[in-house]
Amino acid sequence: MILHRSHIYGVVGEFETPEKLIHAVEKVREAGYRRFEAFSPFPVEGLSQAMGLKRNLVPLITLIGGLTGGIGGFGFQYWVAAITYPLNIGGRPFNSWPAFIPVTFELTILGASLAAVFGMLALNKLPQPHHPVFNVHRFSHASTDRFFICIELRDAKFHLAETARFLQGLEAHHVSEVSDD
């Protein structure tokens, strides 16, 4: 059955092993598809390269978070101890910087970690409980033992029948359309 185009998100093909997936991905790229996505139940080595993914932003965000935490942390302690209400604490200097190091360190770590996690989620556009691929009946295996490629409608080269056939050609079984509603 042919669904109306607008109700289609893309075509998905299922593969049994990571090797087959990687091989398929390479073929898909060679075929000139760009708007497609691969799914695997665990991070598959070499998949990123196969898909030609560049370095991502997470490390940078983390660095920024860490620096903010660290500098902010020390600055705050200095302000408290030496500027806003300087008090003589047991004869120690107002700016007892050695004593401020532990907190500075902890805040650096805290800042960096928060940045890393939330940066990652944000870049991955999570949370996103609803996604068209979930409409695919067998997609539940994507989180167990099956590997999927989904070529999206948005891709310039996308043609429902063509693309489906193309995927079957990559020895994917269960090629199916992804409805989008």
């Binding site: 003589n88 047991g90 004869g91 200097p93």
Partner: protein, 1069 residues
């Protein structure tokens, strides 16, 4: 949580107290059963039946509970108070706090309650000081009492008064708590039923009428020592009115020895006044003249003057001089601890020594020297003779007459009379032999000669020798349903053991509530003026006596003024009156020295009675904290560690280590508390004079072997919530035949096999070879005055990585002279009183949680090493260890270790170098206490403060925050006094003068061992003392840089005895 802040409330309780309404009467009328109910229940019964009803009631749990509500605790206990309103509020507060609103939690509206008519001369918020005096035995201590809006809150000494010289003792300091004691008798009662004063006057007059008919026959009065001229005059006129009436006196803790000794020596009663300052060499024959007895405060002051090395400079220190004190005593006293040479002898042997000394000095008599004291005798005799006219022999109150007589003879022969001591007419209005007087009274009662017995301010049922069985004399005989004495009237501050068996009881007013007068140890007359109208319906002894005269209505005030008018005729009486009230003393009223001729020859003494050394000697002595029992209900004194034993809340049978070993007695340091808190000690049965008490045995190093001391004043049955059933009652085994010392075979002591937990605040007595308490001899001082600095001493400042803070303004500092301190504890109670310090109760002390901001550490000299630091494992070095005291308040370190670790900045440094403690910022991590090397911080582990009892609220010092549960507290150098002085100085643009700020401890100290001031001012006393080479820092090597420093203790041993005294074991051998 502003509950912690009593300030508001106090600030505006104005005037409430001028009027005589005991706040919190309401408290009594709540709950399932109240006094009214009890009275109702009692109303129905009368006379004999009444007592049985009370019995029934006693069993009634509701009644018990009522008693507890009526006598609120001064010491909270851990388990028994349940969740109540405040606890609930705390939880609410907690939730508020978690909501982030705390610190600005919206508190309910408060009200300002001004006076209706403000008393003249009063400025709200400014304390006023009034001169008065506390009569105490044969002495009266002149006081200046601080009053906040009409509430007396703090006792200070009166510098113009000879018995005080500005200092006080523990009893004077604590007496203000007695005023607010919630357990005080609050009314007049007959058979325990509340009566009106008018009703009492009526029946008094009725009795008076009968008596007058009988010409006074059968009317007897029993008092303690009376020094009040006014009361004495009243008594005289009474006795002239009723010629047949008799006046008996009974002072349980002050011996007849001195009185009878004088009679023996001079043929008449005379009063002896010492001038220790004038003496180079002092020998104390079992006398604690620095720590107790009439005049002990000025004596301590004068004595310490001769031991301060302040006046010596680097140049002339080589010929520094000090007086020398020899003490011979059976049990360690503060005087003994201060001595340069101390010899433990049995009480009897002290007498022998006196005889031997007299003989040695060529006064004749026997020369049987007690074993082991030969070299002593020679040395002392030589020393005394070397200082003829500048020596002094002092005899203890509890020594028999002959020893006193001998001392008089010796002093006379040494030509000390007129220099280091003088004689005056007796200070007592009516000196008699108290024991005989009481014996007489009992005999007369048995003979049925006594119709009416008026007991004024004494508690014979508790204190009389047990063989007199005084209770049975006046109590209703259950079998015959008869009373030997028709009318018994008792006047006392509490409804005590005696009141219980008397018909009438009149609550006695506190000395801060009454007009009166009293004489000091040297005869000086002091006017006692009240600071507050009686809190309850109480009356003075004089007023009660007056009730039986033809002028029953006369007020104390009028009577006093009448007498003064008569006694001190002056052109302008009002002027004289005002001056007297202002000064607190009647100028030059001290009794003049009299010439007495010695009518006594030591040779004529009968042979001394001796006791075999395998017999035990049981001594009865007043307790250093509750005295003869009159202070039993005073929480401050109960929790005050006794100077030598450091025991609280209990008395114990004191024995020497060796005797303990022989009797197989031991201590067992419990896990909880242990060295600081709970010590289990063996319980013994003491059977004496066919009676028996069960006591806990406590081992006291330095006690004479074979001596068992049974401290009086405990085991009260009817003292009040705090004092009842604490310790054991030594009076129960005290017989008239052996009032002070009884000899009996050691089989009179039986181990019961049980252990009893005692609360001891310092069990560990040795310094572990650390430079804690620096001591040396005068010789050492002359050679090297800086001996205190080796080893240790402050590390040089350059070594610090940090730049020093500068204290350009004031730099508050304190010095404590260990050479002067005799461990008398006055500072501890003064501090407790000034700073609203809570009483925590025995249980908490046993857990090591007492709250004293200043503690007095008692150490035995460095040379003393005991394997286990446990006196119950015998060690010869414990027979007579040199003893030293070290008061330890917060050291106010400049590099305070406590401050650095506080997570919230609740303890920080002020610009004047104070180690501030901010209670309301404290969250109570206790980290500061852990990091305090001196362990002077105190933590409110539970809600120790009593928030319920209204009377105790009146007691509090509004200038000091009342701490609640969960916060740390510590000595503040009395910052409230510093601030007050600073504000006054700032107002007239001047610097604070040296001595303008006096901390509570400094003010109370009889020996001026504590000096506080501005260390930046080179001319201040404290700066000068810190410049001394004796000055050293406690644990200086930690570089905490304390502002409190110590002046090393210097002893002046007799070179001839030096070897002996250095190895104490020898002496007692």
């Amino acid at each position: 949580m502003n509950g912690m802040r009593e300030h508001e409330q106090h600030e505006h309780l104005d005037g409430q107290h001028e009027r005589n309404d005991p706040a919190g009467d309401a408290k009594l009328h709540e709950g399932p059963m109240d006094l009214a109910a009890v009275r109702a229940k009692l109303q129905s019964k009368t006379g004999k039946l009444y007592w049985r009803t009370l019995e029934e009631l006693a069993g009634d749990p509701q009644f018990e509970e009522l008693l507890h509500r009526e006598f609120p605790r001064q010491a909270p206990s851990e388990w028994d108070d349940s969740v109540d309103r405040r606890d609930f509020l705390k939880l609410m507060a907690a939730s508020l706090a978690f909501a982030g609103l705390s610190g600005c939690g919206r508190t309910p509206e408060q009200y300002v309650v001004p006076y209706v008519k403000q008393p003249d001369g009063m400025t709200l918020g400014k304390p006023q000081f009034y001169a008065t005096a506390m009569p105490f035995g044969a002495d009266a201590i002149g006081l200046l009492v601080e009053s906040h809006e009409g509430r007396p809150t703090k006792i200070e000494g009166n510098p113009d008064h000879p018995s005080s010289l500005g200092a006080t003792n523990v009893f004077a300091q604590a007496s203000v708590l007695n005023l607010y004691d919630p357990d005080r008798a609050q009314t007049v009662t007959k058979f325990g039923e509340i009566q009106t004063w008018a009703a009492f006057l009526d029946s008094a007059q009725a009795i008076a009428a009968e008596t007058r008919a009988a010409n006074g026959a059968g009317f007897r009065i029993l008092t303690g020592i009376v020094t009040s001229p006014t009361l004495a005059a009243q008594m005289q006129s009474f006795l002239t009115l009723y010629p047949q009436a008799k006046w008996h006196q009974w002072e349980p803790a002050l011996g007849d020895g001195a009185r009878e000794g004088a009679k023996l020596a001079f043929g008449s009663y005379v009063n002896t006044v010492y001038r220790p300052e004038k003496a180079e060499v002092i020998l104390s024959l079992d006398s604690d003249f620095l720590g107790s007895g009439p005049g002990h405060i000025p004596y301590a002051r004068e004595f310490s003057r001769r031991r301060k090395l302040d006046q010596y400079t680097e140049v002339d220190r080589r010929d520094a001089e000090m007086n020398r004190l020899y003490v011979i005593e059976p049990t360690p006293s503060v005087t003994g601890a201060t001595a340069d040479h101390r010899l433990p002898l049995r009480a009897l042997e002290v007498g022998l020594f006196a005889r031997a000394l007299a003989a040695k000095l060529g006064l004749g008599g026997s020369v049987t020297v007690p074993a082991g004291s030969e070299d002593w005798l020679d040395a002392v005799a030589k020393d005394l003779q070397k200082h003829k006219g500048a020596s002094l022999v002092v005899t203890g109150e509890h020594q028999p007459a002959e020893v006193h007589a001998l001392a008089h003879a010796i002093n006379a022969s040494l030509g000390n009379v007129g220099t280091s001591l003088y004689y005056t007419e007796p200070v007592e209005a009516h000196p008699v032999n108290h024991l005989e007087a009481l014996r007489q009274l009992c005999a007369d009662i048995d003979a049925g000669k006594v119709e009416t017995l008026l007991i004024l301010g004494v508690n014979p049922v508790y204190t009389a020798p047990h063989d007199f069985d005084f209770a049975s004399k006046i109590k209703l005989d259950p079998s015959t349903k008869q009373k030997k004495v028709k009318n018994t009237i008792c006047v006392s501050s509490h409804f005590d053991e005696t009141a219980e068996v008397c018909d009438w009881h009149v609550g006695e007013s506190h000395y801060l509530e009454t007009w009166g007068d009293a004489r000091a140890f040297d005869g000086t007359v002091t006017v006692i003026q009240p600071l507050i109208a009686p809190l309850y319906h109480t009356h003075s002894a004089r007023a009660v006596l007056g009730a039986f005269t033809e002028k029953p209505g006369a007020t104390d005030y009028d009577v006093l003024r009448e007498r003064l008018k008569a006694a001190y005729p002056s052109a302008d009486f009002e002027k004289f009156w005002r001056k007297t009230l202002n000064d607190g003393v009647i100028s030059n009223s001290a009794s003049a020295p009299i010439n007495v001729t010695l009518k006594f020859n030591p040779a004529s003494l009968p042979a001394a009675k001796t006791s075999s050394l395998d017999e035990l000697e049981f001594l009865f002595r007043p307790d250093p904290c509750v005295y003869d029992g009159r202070f039993a209900n005073n929480g401050w004194l109960q929790e005050l560690p006794k100077p030598i034993t450091k025991l609280t809340w209990d008395n114990a049978a004191l024995i020497s280590p060796k005797t303990a070993e022989n009797l197989k007695l031991a201590h067992n340091v419990a896990w909880g508390g242990g060295e600081h808190g709970k010590v289990y000690s063996n319980v013994i049965d003491v059977a004496l004079a066919n009676s028996k008490v069960t006591a806990a045995a406590w081992i006291v190093p330095g006690q004479a072997d074979g001596v068992v001391v049974l401290p009086l004043g405990y085991g009260r049955k009817r003292a009040g919530y705090t004092g009842t059933n604490k310790g054991f009652n030594a009076y129960a085994v005290r017989s008239s035949s052996a009032l002070w010392a009884a000899t009996a075979s050691s089989t009179m002591i039986k181990k019961t096999g049980e252990d009893y937990p005692l609360a001891c605040t310092q069990y560990h007595f040795n310094m572990e070879g650390r430079q804690i308490l620096a001591t040396g001899t005068l010789e050492e001082y002359r050679k090297n005055p800086g001996f205190a600095h080796e080893p240790g001493g402050n590390p040089p400042k350059e070594l610090s990585l940090y730049t020093e803070y500068s204290y350009p303004g004031y730099a508050w500092g304190m010095t404590i002279d260990l050479n002067s301190c005799n461990g008398c504890n006055a500072c501890v109670v003064a501090c407790q009183s000034e700073n609203n310090i809570a009483v925590v109760g025995k249980d908490q002390v046993m857990r090591g949680r007492e709250m004293h901001w200043i503690r007095i550490d008692r150490y035995y000299e460095k040379s003393v090493k005991s394997a286990t630091n446990d006196p119950s494992s015998y060690d010869a070095s414990l027979d007579n260890p040199p003893t030293f005291f070290q008061p330890v308040p917060c050291q106010q370190c400049e590099n305070a270790p406590c401050e650095q670790v506080c997570p919230v900045g609740a303890t920080v440094h002020s610009a004047e170098g104070l180690n501030d403690m901010v209670y309301n910022r404290c969250v109570g991590t206790r980290y500061c206490s852990n990091n305090c090397p001196y362990k002077v911080r105190r933590f409110n582990f539970l809600r120790f403060q009593d928030w319920e009892t209204p009377q105790l609220k009146l007691l509090r010092n509004p200038e000091v925050t009342v701490r609640s549960r969960g916060v740390m507290e510590k000595c503040t150098y009395c910052v409230q006094r510093i601030n007050t002085a600073r504000i006054e100085a700032e107002k007239d643009n001047r610097k604070i003068r040296d001595g303008e700020i006096v901390t509570a401890c400094e003010a109370a100290c009889p020996t001026q061992a504590i000096v506080f001031g501005n260390a930046n001012d080179p001319n201040s006393r404290v700066a000068k003392l810190k410049a001394q080479q004796r000055n050293y820092t406690l644990l200086g090597e930690l570089n905490a840089r304390p502002r409190t420093t110590y002046l090393a203790a210097v002893r002046n041993p007799n070179p001839e005895l030096l070897t002996a005294s250095r190895s104490p074991a020898k002496e007692s051998a």
